[in-house]
Structure formats: structure tokens, C-alpha cells
Subunit: 337 residues, 2 copies
């Protein structure tokens, strides 16, 4: 309640006798500015109240606060997250008009751990999902990484969206992975045992007519949330690429394929690429995936950047869980849309 003796905040440079002052402001002004800042920002008092308590005008309080900002007496910082680069995430989200984007920070010099990416994707899924949703899942390594991190889930239908690929070094079998979350969720589950890719279109057609498969693929219409891995068309960047033969790879390359999502192929501009491969897949169509209201894509590593960009351009994904390298690539150089 004590009144303050007026203190001129900034003296004219020519008239100040403050040549001995170390900082830009005298000690009393610093004390005053700090006191005002503390009351306003830490104690939450309104500027009017502060002005009343100190016997100065509310305008002076406001100017004092501005000054305190300029001089660095008040410092406001947005805390950095341990796991997620909050700023980069938002920049990517904004730039590509995504629903959600989560950029996972890599610890140390090396890339983001699969485990971290999977856990973060799990958190995002759990955050976004409601008990009105229908979840669609393909088979993908990154998706199984995610599912491993999920311990609780709402009781909602789970729909398998694609066949599976046998990968030697994966310990758990494909359907187990999709089945795991179905068990956790406890709702109805549309699962099937089928390979993602067959040797010819005829076999694939037959396979798609299998009741379990047909029922699951039909249920894809009802899916409201899907999670997808993103495969780049290069060795080690796509389980499909690694599975098929050299000629098939080459055909896709010459057709312009840069990546696949759930076995749906697309080019650098995101447009579907017609290929003989397409008819051999047991998966939903690109249009059906595009119609899903929320599709979360998961990807990691510089080599997948172009594939992610294509998937986004093609409208296959609505959200992303990625690492810093891909995020920076998505913001760099050629701009979206």
C-alpha cells in the first residue's frame, strides 16, 4: 500500500548522469519493474490493482511491463518437451494442414528409437480415439511397435485393413499384433489371415473373396480412425519392397512409385500409380483409405521423407508421427500444395 516516489523510467541520453550505471536502468527502476512483473505474472494481480497498490497509473504499469520484457527482466519460455518437439510438430501440422502432428525427438546423435516412435504414436492414438470410433489397422512394423505400447483401449470395433507380410526378424506374428489390441479393446474384431501380396491378380481376387477377408474389407467403410506405416520404395524402407522380386520392384520404379501405405502405391505427387502390383494386393483401395476421417501415419528416417510427402500430397494421411529428420524435410525446400 506504500506509495512510490515517481521514477523517470528512461532519461534522455543527453541528460542522464548515469554514465556510471552498469545496466540501462537505475537500481530503483529495476526494483520497481521486477516488483511489477512479479505481481502481474507470478501473483496474477491485474495491472489496475498493481497501479492502485503502488500509486501509479495503470498505463505506467503497462509500460513498465513492456520495458521489463525488452530488458529481459521478465522471461517467458515455452518449456521443451522431453519426447516431442512441440514447436516443430506444430509447424509441420500447420504447413501441411494436418489434424495432428507429433515430431519425436531423437536422443543423442542417432535416430529416434523405434520404441519411442511407437510409444508416442500409441499416446496419440489413445488421446484421439473415442469410444464412438472404429479403429482400422493394417500390418506394418511401425504399427506393431505402436500396439506393443498400448495397455488399455476403449471397447470399440477393430478392423484389419490389410494382409500381412512375413518378416523373418519380427518375433511376433502379424495377426497376433492386430489381435493383441483387439483383445485389449474387447470389442468386435474383423481379423483375417492372408498375405498382403500374392503372386498374381487372380489369387488375390480369390483371397479377397474369402469371407473373413471380405467382411473385414467391407467393414473398412465404417472405420473412423486408422494407423498406417509408410513405406518408401527402397531397400529396407518397405516390407512390400523387400518381399517382392526385382522385376516387380523395377516395374514400380519405372511407373513412378515412391512409396506405399498399406500396400497402396503412389508417386511423388501423391497420385495413385497404376501397377500390376496393385491387383495382387489384399488391402483396401486408396479411395477408401482417403475416405477414413483420421489416418495417422508413422515414419522414421531421412529415407522415408519423400514417401511421407507423397502420402500427404495424395491425401492418404491426416496426421503424422515422425522424427525430426522427416519433419525438417517436410518444411524444407519445395513447399506443400
Amino acid at each position: 500500500m506504500s506509495k512510490v516516489v515517481p521514477v523517470t523510467l528512461v532519461k534522455d541520453d543527453t541528460t542522464r548522469w548515469d554514465q556510471n550505471v552498469t545496466e540501462a536502468l537505475g537500481p530503483s527502476a529495476r526494483v520497481l519493474a521486477a516488483a511489477v512483473a512479479r505481481r502481474h505474472y507470478l501473483a496474477g494481480e491485474s495491472k489496475v490493482d498493481i497501479a492502485g497498490a503502488l500509486g501509479i497509473s495503470r498505463f505506467k504499469v503497462a509500460r513498465l511491463l513492456d520495458l521489463a520484457h525488452e530488458l529481459g527482466i521478465v522471461r517467458i519460455e515455452i518449456a521443451s518437451d522431453q519426447i516431442v518437439d512441440l514447436q516443430l510438430s506444430e509447424e509441420v501440422r500447420e504447413a501441411w494442414e494436418l489434424h495432428h502432428c507429433t515430431v519425436v525427438l531423437g536422443h543423442g546423435a542417432d535416430a529416434v528409437a523405434r520404441e519411442d516412435l511407437g510409444r508416442t504414436a500409441a499416446e496419440l492414438l489413445c488421446e484421439v480415439v473415442t469410444d464412438k470410433d472404429v479403429l482400422g489397422l493394417p500390418w506394418a512394423r511401425s504399427v506393431s511397435d505402436m500396439i506393443r505400447s498400448i495397455t488399455a483401449f476403449p471397447r470399440i470395433p477393430i478392423v484389419q485393413l490389410s494382409g500381412s507380410v512375413v518378416v523373418p526378424d519380427e518375433t511376433t506374428s502379424p495377426v497376433d499384433i492386430v489381435g493383441r489390441i483387439a483383445r485389449i479393446a474387447g470389442g468386435e474384431a474383423h481379423l483375417f489371415y492372408a498375405p498382403l501380396i500374392l503372386d498374381d491378380a487372380t489369387s488375390a481376387t480369390v483371397m479377397r473373396r474369402q469371407p473373413s477377408v471380405a467382411s473385414a474389407l467391407a467393414a473398412a467403410d465404417r472405420v473412423t480412425i486408422a494407423v498406417a506405416g509408410i513405406g518408401a520404395w527402397a531397400p529396407g524402407q518397405s516390407t512390400v519392397y523387400d518381399t517382392i522380386g526385382p522385376e516387380d520392384r523395377a516395374e514400380a520404379v519405372s511407373a513412378g512409385v515412391v512409396g506405399e501405405v498399406m500396400g497402396i502405391y503412389y508417386g511423388a505427387d501423391g497420385a495413385p500409380v497404376p501397377t500390376h502390383l496393385t491387383d495382387r494386393m489384399v488391402t483396401l483401395t486408396g479411395d477408401r483409405l482417403r475416405a477414413v476421417p483420421e489416418v495417422i501415419g508413422i515414419a522414421r528416417g531421412r529415407n522415408k521423407a519423400q514417401a511421407v510427402r507423397g502420402a500427404l500430397r495424395g491425401g492418404l494421411l491426416k496426421s503424422l508421427v515422425i522424427d525430426t529428420e522427416i519433419a525438417q524435410s517436410l518444411l524444407a525446400g519445395d513447399w506443400p500444395r
Copy 2:
């Protein structure tokens, strides 16, 4: 401009499937909260604008910001000064209803350097003084420390308020000190050569009648700003105490003297203490000092805490430049007034 998919901020603990979530909030909410906080606090956008840009209500923006505070995503801190404890200064100022208070931080374990205290006092004086003021100065070690730090000063009258004490280890002579600032200021100066304390009351009366002395003491009425050292009534804590004989010291002690300012004696409650010493001083009266609108007291060290408190209670000082020890003592235990 991209729209945001609604995200429920806090789920009911019973309904959340976030047992795998490391933090209290999902990644998307963290990204959103951080983005809002960044836009509001760093970019300075209004909540209404942010709400419009993100397609959410301004209330949600506000709640999101509250949340960001609670979770520590936004952290506001008042920067600490290198020289002055801004918070402690304000607390003392407020508690004792001072015009200004500057608590100088000691570096390392030992006490605040005389030099730091003097420099800070100089800064405060230069900040507070205007070219309409009349400056009054006594002789005191701390005052001479301050004056040494002054290199520029407005062209105002300088009035010497007390006689001087010869201290062996001070290199500069008393009047030189007061004369120095008079030279820097360049205005009219009321200086005189006289001891602060004489052997008897008669000599003191004679001395006070000397034209130069009388003129200066008369000019004390016009003084608008004075700076004073504070002496505690103990060895090494007051140049007056150290100068006089044991009987005089004892008399003052038994009369209840705890300190002196400009040779004006007072007790623990700040009331003037009548003593034979008083008549022997060449200085202004306590009432005259109390009438000066701004008196800045300088003191350092735990031993002077009680003397400072007395001087404040007695209304001799309006402002303080002190160290952390005295400041804490002023806030501790027995409360002012």
C-alpha cells in the same frame, strides 16, 4: 489457418486409456498447448485471433493457457539481477514503506564489497536526483565510497551537512570527498572545514557560529536529497564511536544509544537519545534531517542491522542501500511499526 480437430483436454481419470502416457497430457494436446502459448506469449497474438486461426473458441484458448501454466509448459520467470536482489529490495521497501530500497548482493561467501555498495548507491542517487534538487552530504566512509563512483552529476547546489572525522586509513581527506562531487556538479557548494565532534559543548557552539559552518547548516533547510552513512554503536561500526573516549561511549550506551546518523543519536525505537555528546556535534539537528524529503541511508553488515532499524523507526531515512544481511534482519522477527 488450418482447423484443428477437437481434442479433449483432460479426460476423466476413470475413462482415460492413457495408462501408457508418460505425461499427464497426450502429445497432441501438448503440441496444441505449446502452440497456443507460443503464439500468445511469444508472438503476442490475442486469444481471439488464436482462437480464430485454430478454429476453437477463445475460452478454450484461455483454458489451454491456464493448463499450460499448470503443467509447466509456459514458465515465466523474473530474471535475477547481477548486482541487486530485486525481490528482497522490494520486500524491504514495502515492509518499511521506503521510497527506494536497494539490496546489494554479495558475491561468494563474504560480505558485500564496499565498492559494490558505493557504486550502487551512486547509481540510485543519480537515478533519483533531478536538476531541481539540492543535495546534502555529511561525512561518512560509505558516502565517500559512493562519491568515488560518481563521474557525472547535474549542476545543483551541494550542502555539507556535518563536520568530518579524521580516519587514519582513509587516503582522501574528508572535505576533498564532499568537494569532489561539488566540482563535478559545478553548482554552488556550501562546504566547511570543521570536526564532527569537539571536546565540549562550548567549542561546538563556537564552531557552529563560524560563517562557513553556519551558512551550510542554514542551507540544510533547502536540501531535498541527502545521503547518509549509518553508524552502529559498537567498535568499528561508527567513526564517531571509534573517535571518542571510553567514558563518552559508555555514557551513550547507558543512555540507550544504538546508532548515529550524521552524528545524530537515537535508541532502538528510533527516538532521539539526549546525551552530552549531542551538544558537542557539528551537524544538523535530527528534526532538520527528518524534514529532508529524501534521505538515502547506506549500511553494510549484520552488526549494523539494529542501528538501521532504529534509524528507520526514527524516520531519519527515507531510502536504503544495504546488503542482504541487513535486509533479512529488517524482515525477520520483530516487525516494523
